[in-house]
């Protein structure tokens, strides 16, 4: 019995409500954090930062955001790309309009602006449900992208409509712009990811989270026992969009450095983030990370395997990569429809019983 829950007693309800009620989990978590903050920044190079870790962290934030809306509150959204665009353009406008204000504040504000937009587009959810809602959120996706493309004010009237992030620093360290080091990029994303994950965890274990889940599991019953669907759904849209907006802001300012609405925040982005939460596990914050890691890493791994190791032509490799990713998605769904998070939980459940099968 490697993994023990027995003997880990709680003496107060407060302890019992902790994020990691089991001591073993808690220590594991602290260890991961310590490595992430204290070791990785010193060993990271720009490939790992730019191709793997920074996108992973940013997508994890977006995935948590979408998971709050879809996984916790049950409102399927395909508008994530559009909301990320709101975050990106908001941070761009703020950065260029108020160069003196710290970038972190801009990023948080960008999240807040996205939250407002999210609430607006969340209004139809009061009437429209299920896949109808999912498709309806595409209206947000297409409209927002169109808007950022069409109104020159958003891109400061630049000739091509591209936005480019100027250099901004935190405590003298560049975190946006060309001079940013790999570890600075990584650290700012990591900090946001950790803080936001913690906030998401708090929200989902408390009363708002319960209201969201109640709406998700059975909206009519929830309303009858006292959940106001208006505030529950809209708060989910607001919080979710806040997260997604921050992810969009980071994606543009820290990761890409330049962006164009229809290219960087197209419908594919919406699908990508949705994949992440489904592969990772709906209604699970750990799952959001797992899903993001899976979908960021998998193509990189496959590419390295097929092109670099096996030396296949890139086009063939790219087509086969599509096939493999598609097949793997299906495979994972068959093995465990509830995602990597559930797979992990089942493994723990088995470990607890180990070596006995039942």
């Amino acid at each position: 019995m490697f993994y023990r829950e027995a003997g880990d007693f709680k003496t107060s309800y407060r302890d019992d409500g902790q994020t990691f009620p089991i001591r073993l989990d808690r220590w594991g978590y602290y260890a991961v954090l310590a490595v992430a903050f204290l070791v990785v920044p010193f060993v990271i190079d720009s490939y790992w930062a730019n191709a793997v870790l920074v996108p992973f962290l940013i997508y994890a934030i977006a995935a948590i955001g979408l998971n709050i809306l879809t996984g916790y509150a049950g409102q399927v959204s395909l508008g994530t790309g559009g909301f990320m665009a709101v975050g990106a353009y908001a941070v761009y406008k703020l950065m260029t309009a108020f160069p003196g204000v710290p970038i972190v504040i801009h990023i948080v504000l960008a999240g807040a602006i996205t939250a407002i937009v999210g609430v607006l587009f969340g209004l139809p959810s009061l009437r429209i449900k299920g896949f109808y809602l999912a498709v309806a959120t595409l209206a947000a996706q297409f409209f927002l992208v169109w808007l950022f493309n069409k109104v020159p004010w958003f891109y400061n009237y630049s000739a091509s409509g591209q936005i480019t992030a100027p250099e901004r620093t935190i405590l003298g360290w560049a975190v946006t712009g060309p001079a940013t080091t790999a570890s600075a990029k990584y650290l700012i994303c990591l900090t946001f990811a950790v803080v936001l994950a913690w906030i998401a965890r708090n929200l989902t274990r408390g009363m708002v989270g319960r209201k969201w889940m109640a709406i998700r599991d059975m909206d009519i019953a929830a309303e009858i026992i006292g959940v106001n669907p208006l505030t529950a759904k809209l708060s989910a849209f607001a919080v979710s969009s806040f997260f997604v907006g921050i992810a969009g802001a980071l994606l543009f300012s820290v990761y890409l450095g330049a962006a164009e609405a229809s290219e960087a925040f197209g419908i594919n982005k919406s699908f990508l983030v949705l994949f992440m939460i489904i592969i990772g596990g709906l209604g699970s914050i750990f799952g959001s990370f797992a899903g993001a890691a899976f979908l960021v890493l998998l193509p990189v791994l496959l590419k390295n395997l097929l092109v670099v190791q096996l030396g296949w032509p890139t086009d063939l490799a790219a087509h086969i990569e599509l096939m493999i990713v598609g097949a793997l998605i299906i495979f994972f769904l068959i093995v465990e429809p509830h995602g990597l998070a559930r797979l992990w939980a089942l493994t723990k459940e088995k470990l607890r019983l180990w070596p006995f099968p039942h």
Binding site: L346, E349, K350, L353, H358
Partner: protein
């Protein structure tokens, strides 16, 4: 009035099966039972005892719930049926009426009934005739034949589910909690129909019931299931007289039926479950 019919041929045989859900939750821990042809066999037991699971194991509906039979054998007319898909089983004459009705919400009552005849190949006329038969048994359904099943009341849905099963001209019906949520008159009526169908059409029944009282009145033989094990079985007559069954399943004590108002002053505890 009924005897246990031990001399009848055994139609369905469940031999020491184990069922596991989700690879970890062990629900049935070795259940064996046999269902004689033309009889009504009752499967009794408390909540979560495993009645539904047993029925689903027989009709092979476990897969879609991520459950599987890991041990033991099930045979119908001596032929193993574990790996048969439900459709084949229906064609062989075994049909299940699921717990919680499961009508097709968006189909009308009549369409629901017609789907019951899906596996039949004996022509539209025969099917129409059976439709009339079902409407005879359940006149209420005839009134509501054009309504979408999703909008009918619980009792109507239960009738619809029963009727749908009858439409397949089955040999054996696995009936899961037919009385749940039905008005007393209807419960009585449904069991009368079970009896009528059993006697009139010779259909064999295996029914899972919570309402021990009525089940034992209509069944010939009974199995009592607790926590995934058969704890007692015997002819219905005998079970009804058994003091334990009387106390725990029929709610009677030596002084006859107790008032539910008095429950606060006593508490039953099952002996065999300690």
């Amino acid at each position: 009035m009924f005897d246990a019919m031990p001399d009848r041929e055994t139609l369905l045989e469940v031999n020491n099966i184990e069922v596991i859900y989700n690879h970890v939750i062990l629900v049935l821990k070795g259940v064996s039972l046999s269902v004689p042809k033309g009889g009504i066999t009752a499967l009794l037991g408390g909540n979560g005892a495993g009645k539904t699971t047993t029925l689903k194991a027989i009709s092979n509906l476990l897969h879609s719930e991520r459950g599987e039979v890991t041990k033991g054998a099930i045979s119908y007319r001596g032929e193993p049926i574990q790996n048969m898909d439900p459709a084949t089983l229906v064609r062989k004459g075994v049909i299940q009426v699921m717990e919680g009705r499961h009508c097709f919400e968006h189909l009308t009552i009549e369409e629901n009934l017609l789907t019951g005849a899906y596996t039949r190949k004996d022509g539209a006329a025969a099917i129409r005739q059976d439709l009339e038969m079902v409407y005879n048994y359940f006149p209420r359904l005839k009134e509501r034949r054009r309504s979408q099943a999703g909008y009918t009341s619980g009792g109507e849905q239960q009738m619809c589910a029963m009727g749908r099963a009858l439409m397949s001209r089955p040999e054996t019906i696995l009936l899961d909690e037919p009385s749940m949520g039905l008005a007393p008159q209807l419960v009585e009526q449904i069991f009368e129909i079970v009896k009528a169908v059993n006697e009139g059409e010779g259909v064999t029944f295996l029914l899972a019931e919570q309402n021990t009282n009525i089940a034992l009145r209509y069944a010939h033989y009974g199995y009592i299931l607790e926590s995934g094990r058969v704890v007692m079985d015997g002819p219905a007559e005998a079970l009804r007289e058994n003091p334990d069954v009387k106390e725990f399943y029929l709610g009677m004590s030596d002084q006859g039926r107790k008032s539910f108002r008095d429950v606060r002053s006593y508490r039953r505890r099952k002996r065999w479950l300690a």
